[in-house]
Symmetry: C2
């Protein structure tokens, strides 16, 4: 999906596809301020761990531009950049890429002269745009690597083409919309499709914000990949009935011990896959691995507004608990696939 | 909940609360024909295994009345009654109670005279109304028995009142709306509440038709029982985090080996409870146990219209798989509680 761009830097603004209105509308946001960016991130107009990383990178460039217009001092600029990094807590990519690009804020010459806020805006923008380009390239490598693993693990290698075509379950949205390029889990699925070994994809709705029903079905439709939508509660049953050959999901943060935080609902699929003895694969860029988080219990799990859950059908006044992510323990994960490696979870 | 009645026999018609429009509207259907009854059952205006049994029982009386008006012969009457029994396949209670009441169709005197269609309408109606009354009474006994088990299993017996109040997760709707009287799983929860040992209830939405969000939250609100709504995918995570003390669900059919068919999504909760080491309790009347079904694989699982899943948010043309129930294997179930016994699943 190249038109419209999922995310781009254009004339000092961030352009982003508004993922809250898909598939009903294809609308591009033009973001000029840090407040607008944080709003787009918190209401999930921009979402998906790798895309959040890229948006955070562009956010630093955006903050520099806004700071020039509004004559922010260095402290204000740093505070605004910190606000971007903290806009959502669970996906490590956001804060990581913000920090990486913010490292370009001080020029060597400026630093030598003791100018705290001496900024090479061009260098910052180049670094930010570089994060986008790298994300797309990383997702392609990751996709091909994950597909190769699954072909082997499920006995569907190309020699057997036609004999064994895979039925792959995925959760939430991890395609171009979430990651640029091909995506993570959905990139693996796309690679299986292009290699002729995919039968169909099982997509779950991913309540409360329905990224599976809205976004993954939309992407798979555009790609011409056969798929079936199910309710979130149905995945474990389909797996138990032998209707799924493998589960592939993305990740928002991978702890040092291999525990994985991903969209709420992931853990139940891991439990079912483990019991059924089918592969449960986590596909994520290396940047999603966070060596500073020792295990799943240390991952901050975002608790979102109750109205996302109660707004659909509950009686007025109903209270809710709305964790946006869950944690799958390392021992339930068959492998983690990154652009560089396929590893059985163990201390990274 | 006694006004309005969930289900009643009045002036030769079935009156039933329309459960498709709750909690937005409280509307009573007045059902005069077999076609109207089957429509109400298939679109889930009348639902819940015990309530389906009672509605099937009243359905036989309704068919007799319609047969008298329309001068059906015995074969037509039998065929119409068979249609009621087959309106939904998974809950065994529907066909079972239809058969039980249909046994009253032939009077002994009529049979002795060889009159195939000699019908004692009054006896049929009395038998049907008896099923309703018994369902309510059974649910009370079952509720108290289940609560006693959980108090013991969770160390919340009345001596410890205040020390340990239980957080109980339930799925779908199993209260008065589903069962008359107190309900099955929700009846157990109501008994815990009345005994002062309930902290709060975790209710999941139960996609696609949202019986948890719409019906269970409505019932718990009317009963003044503290509760929190969550998305279906979140239950296993809450269980893994120690936020749930026990899971209690109903059943649509219990096979002879103890496997349980219940609303889609149940299995994932059983997997999570098993891993967390907390009780997973199935609460159902004895009539839900089907000795003629050897195991879960032999239970017919209703596959419902794709639009129930795709209608919410998916792009036009999206296909779905919509199993209405799943099967939880006996070994994941701590106990099955009926009105008469608390048993660890084993061949019945």
């Amino acid at each position: 999906m190249d038109t419209p761009d999922v995310l781009a830097w254009r004339d000092g603004r961030i352009e982003a596809l508004d993922q809250t209105v898909l598939p009903y509308q294809v609308r591009t946001l033009s973001i000029a301020t840090v407040d607008e960016l944080i709003d787009a991130i918190t209401r999930l107009a921009i979402r998906g761990a790798p895309l959040l990383g890229a948006a955070g990178a562009l956010g630093v460039a955006l903050a520099v531009r806004q700071g020039e217009r509004e004559r922010w001092d260095a402290a204000r600029l740093a505070a605004e950049i910190d606000r971007i990094a903290a806009a959502r807590p669970t996906a490590v990519n956001l804060a990581r890429e913000v920090r990486a690009v913010a490292a370009h804020l001080r020029t060597e010459a400026g630093a030598a002269r003791g100018e705290a806020a001496s900024i090479d805006a061009a260098a910052v923008e180049a670094a930010a745009v570089g994060v986008l380009a790298e994300a797309a390239e990383v997702s392609r490598r990751l996709s091909v690597r994950g597909a190769a693993f699954l072909r082997g693990a499920c006995g569907a290698d190309r020699e057997g083409r036609g004999d064994r075509r895979l039925r792959v379950h995925t959760h939430c949205n991890t395609g171009a919309l979430a990651c640029l390029g091909w995506g993570t889990a959905l990139g693996v699925i796309r690679a299986l499709h292009e290699e002729g070994v995919l039968d169909h994809v099982i997509v779950d709705e991913t309540r409360p914000l329905l990224q599976g029903a809205r976004l993954t079905c939309w992407e798979l439709g555009r790609l011409g990949i056969e798929h079936r939508l199910i309710c979130d509660g149905a995945g474990p049953f389909l797996i138990s009935q032998g209707l799924v050959d493998a589960v592939v999901v993305g990740a928002d943060r991978i702890a040092a011990n291999g525990d994985v935080a991903n969209k709420i609902g992931t853990y139940s699929l891991a439990l079912a896959a483990h019991r059924a003895g089918i592969p449960f694969v986590v596909a994520a860029p290396e940047s999603t691995i966070d060596p500073d988080t020792p295990d799943g219990a240390a991952i901050p799990i975002e608790l979102r507004a109750e109205e996302e859950v109660t707004g659909t059908a509950a009686p007025a006044g109903t209270r809710a608990v709305n964790f946006a992510f869950d944690v799958t323990p390392a021992e339930l994960i068959t492998v983690i696939v990154t652009q560089d490696r396929v590893v059985k979870p163990q201390p990274f």
